[in-house]
């Protein structure tokens, strides 16, 4: 489904994984926050990390 969206819009979805259930808020709250923080550190449409 992600591929279909990317194809339709002509832009890429960056994917990440967690070994978590549908609610990663409990057992994986810290790894989830780490991914969100890494995403926030990216800058611009091409997703490079901010210096």
């Amino acid at each position: 489904m992600i591929a279909a969206v990317d194809s339709a819009l002509g832009s890429q979805t960056h994917t990440h994984t967690l070994p978590a259930s549908h609610f990663p808020f409990y057992s994986y709250s810290k790894p989830l926050a780490e991914i969100l923080l890494a995403i926030a550190a990216r800058n611009g449409a091409n997703g490079q990390y901010r210096r």
Partner: protein, 243 residues
């Protein structure tokens, strides 16, 4: 001068409310970010439930047929609520926004990104609905990749008949509780699972599933987007696999 750290706006999924983020928000704030969540219209404090939900033991037939008082809640209302919070947060903090949606919250994240792309640093889906242009969420629910989903087997009423995706978070039926746990948080402690159920409502408005995604490459498509796959997501497990 370095740009300020983005602010996170966190959007919850079906049946739960903004409190689902309570363990994540402090971790983001500890790193210098602003992080805010909300209760979507029809959720949390504004959730309305059928009369039959209050009666225990549950009258199964009444619960299966009573129209949902939450049915009129629209995707448009939810989109407006998140746009307002994002704009308020951007104005108050001067920070760009990272917009995060979990599960059904993906529908709202998508609509908000189309509405205010210039205010967003990025959008993030956590095991969430992500639609192609023109696609309705119901199409995703009925997609081949969702065959055998545990979620549909939790429904205790016909969504079209009552206007809601109706479950019973207060159920004391061991089999039904096990089903909910497998679908949502098999890796959580019993205490966390029980706490989650205590905060859930029973009726998620069904109408949001039939709104086509009105997104364009020019607006939604230029916001950097990320998808976090939860590999043990019970929504995609069949009932047989959990038995």
């Amino acid at each position: 001068m370095p740009s300020p750290k983005p602010a996170f706006i966190l959007v919850h999924g079906a049946w739960v409310d903004g409190s689902i983020w309570q363990r994540v928000i402090p971790l983001l704030e500890a790193q210098g970010h602003v992080a805010r969540s909300l209760d979507l219209p029809g959720s949390g404090a504004s959730a309305k439930v059928p009369i039959a939900y209050h009666k225990r033991p549950l009258d199964v037939l009444a619960f299966a047929t009573e129209p949902s008082p939450n049915a009129a809640v629209s995707q448009e209302e939810r989109t407006r609520a998140v746009v307002a919070l994002a704009e308020q947060t951007a104005q108050e903090t001067g920070r760009p926004i990272v917009l995060v949606g979990q599960s059904l919250g993906g529908l709202t994240v998508t609509a908000v990104a189309e509405a205010i792309p210039d205010q967003l640093r990025s959008i993030v889906y956590i095991s969430a609905f992500l639609q192609s242009p023109g696609m309705m969420a119901i199409d995703l629910v009925q997609h081949a990749t969702m065959a055998g989903s545990l979620v549909a087997s939790m429904f205790l009423a016909d969504p079209q008949a009552v206007g809601a995706l109706r479950i019973d978070p207060r159920s004391d039926n061991a089999e039904y509780r096990a089903l909910m746990r497998s679908a949502f948080c098999a890796d959580a402690s019993e205490a966390d699972f029980s706490s989650t159920l205590a905060g859930e409502t029973c009726d998620e408005p069904a109408g949001v599933l039939t709104v086509p995604a009105r997104i364009t490459a020019e607006r939604f498509g230029r916001v950097p987007r990320h998808y976090i796959r939860c590999l043990e997501d019970g929504r995609f497990q069949s009932r047989a696999r959990t038995s």
